[in-house]
């Protein structure tokens, strides 16, 4: 009963290309976006997330072409994030074929964008991405960071999540900056605290190194969906293997 726990491969895009990092430094072309999306779709991915990591705003429109091409051929939900600053950016991504748009730094700098975008396009397509880090200099446990984890905000991640939902976020993508890239698993206490505090679905992100981490993200972290990049990109596991593992461990998957 209920809803299958979603597995969401995340693809990084820069200057209109899907890329993957090599040793966290060099970015290599990972192949044709449609082919990659098709491969994950064929493996049973429940959704795809594209993260635009383009440094220069000049080239940011290039992701629109990727989304257009993928949306013509892949019929599962597509989420796009990265560099969303205005309601107009949301509109253009939706028109290109995105089903949901993820707002991160802008949500902190200008929360009105979240409210305006949700009221104009509906909460169902507005995801707020929260990058959180454990801190010991605040009266709370996890602090919201922006700009890819560089800037502290002084905001309590749990309270921030509640505020974003009250402004109209239909889903939260929570990334633990402590865990991102570590392969030691999601920050389940952080995810659980946020998941328990809101009614909308939570996507856990940051730190997946093996398939048990995906299971733990759901059972310990209260996540409704799990997002992972490297374990899928480098061929360590297929999405199908992840689903089989989750099913064997008693989780409902598609």
């Amino acid at each position: 009963m209920g809803c299958a726990k979603r597995i969401i491969p995340c693809l990084d895009v820069t200057d209109g290309r899907v890329v993957k990092g090599v040793n966290f430094l060099e970015l290599r072309d990972a192949g044709d976006p449609v082919e990659i999306a098709q491969r994950y779709n064929d493996q049973g991915a429940d959704e795809l997330t594209f993260l635009d990591i383009t440094a220069s705003s000049d080239n940011r429109d290039l992701i629109l072409h990727i989304i257009e091409r993928v949306a013509e051929q892949i019929f599962i939900p597509l989420t796009v994030g990265g560099g969303v600053r205005k309601v107009e950016d949301v509109r253009r991504l939706l028109n290109a074929g995105a089903d949901k748009v993820s707002i991160n730094t802008t949500a902190v700098l200008n929360p009105q964008v979240v409210e305006d975008a949700a009221s104009r396009f509906g909460s169902q397509c507005i995801v707020v991405a929260i990058d959180a880090k454990k801190v010991d200099n605040q009266p709370f446990e996890w602090e919201v960071f922006t700009h890819g984890g560089r800037n502290a905000t002084g905001l309590d991640a749990v309270k921030w999540a509640q505020k974003m939902v009250s402004l109209g976020a239909g889903e939260l993508l929570v990334t633990s900056m402590d865990r991102d890239g570590t392969k030691i698993g999601f920050n389940n206490p952080l995810n659980k605290a946020i998941s328990d505090a809101v009614d909308v679905p939570l996507i856990a992100s940051g730190g997946v190194g093996n398939l048990q981490h995906l299971v733990d993200g759901v059972t310990l972290g209260g996540a409704d969906a799990v997002l992972a990049a490297s374990i899928f990109h480098y061929g360590e596991f297929t999405v199908q293997q992840a689903k089989d593992y989750m099913r064997e461990h008693g989780l409902e998957v598609r």
Binding site: M1, G2, C3, A4, K5, R6, N41, D46, A71, E72, Q73, F75, I76, P77, L94, N95, G97, D99, F121, G122, S123, Q124, C125, G170, E171, S195, D196, D199, V200, P201, L202, G222, D224, A225, R254
Partner: protein, 214 residues
């Protein structure tokens, strides 16, 4: 202007390109267009009535574009597929914004009740209901052709339809209680889930719609 085989009703709420893309993928040879022209909708062979966002906005925008009559007429005349809010708007009234719908069918659109949103183990179920859930086919129908019972479709919604007449229901989904996931009556079929985002099962349903001769 030649007659469209599939007219997708555009009333300015959200992006309908995914729906058009999905029809082009399953039936490349037919004419499909997103349109807000009542005449084109009246002339079309088949009508798709999608929707996303909030129902009060959808009804308001539908009326602002003078599309209400064309949509209601289509429900009486030709193969008609409602999707998501396009299903909800066919009913009399919605709790969302306390607005009247088009009233094609008797019944109410209700919000998932907060006090019931937990599974058998007591774990909280989120609203919106977002993700892939099993669709239990409660009546045989040409639109279910080649789609196994309990196939999963992609849902995203906070409100569901409660038809007054149980026989209208063509499928149910459990979240956590059984609610109406699809309705069927004569030339009308309407679904709460998103076939255009439901991978192979969804594409099959759209293919079935294109081939449907009610």
């Amino acid at each position: 202007m030649s007659r469209l085989q599939v007219a997708i009703v555009d009333y300015g709420m959200g992006n309908l390109r995914s729906v058009a893309n999905a029809f082009k993928a399953v039936a490349p040879s037919i004419s499909v267009a997103v349109t807000s022209d009542p005449e084109q909708i009246a002339q079309a062979e088949r009508v798709v009535f999608p929707g996303q966002g909030a129902m009060p906005d959808c009804i308001r925008e539908l009326d602002a574009r003078h599309l209400r009559q064309a949509v209601v007429d289509a429900t009486q005349q030709k193969p008609f597929l409602g999707i998501c809010i396009g299903l909800q708007m066919l009913f009399e009234h919605s709790e969302e914004g306390d607005v009247p719908g088009l009233g094609v069918y008797r019944g109410e659109v209700k919000r998932f009740p907060a006090d019931k949103m937990h599974d058998e183990q007591g774990a909280k179920l989120k609203v919106p209901h977002m993700g892939w859930s099993q669709v239990h086919q409660t009546q045989a129908h040409p639109l279910w052709s080649e789609i196994p019972d309990l196939a999963r479709f992609y849902y995203v919604h906070s409100y569901y339809v409660a038809p007054e007449e149980a026989a209208l229901t063509a499928a149910t989904t459990a979240y956590p209680f059984d609610y109406t996931g699809a309705i069927a009556r004569d030339n009308v079929f309407a679904v709460q889930f998103h076939p255009e985002k439901s991978a192979n099962a969804g594409l099959q349903l759209l293919r079935n719609f294109v081939n449907w001769k009610p």
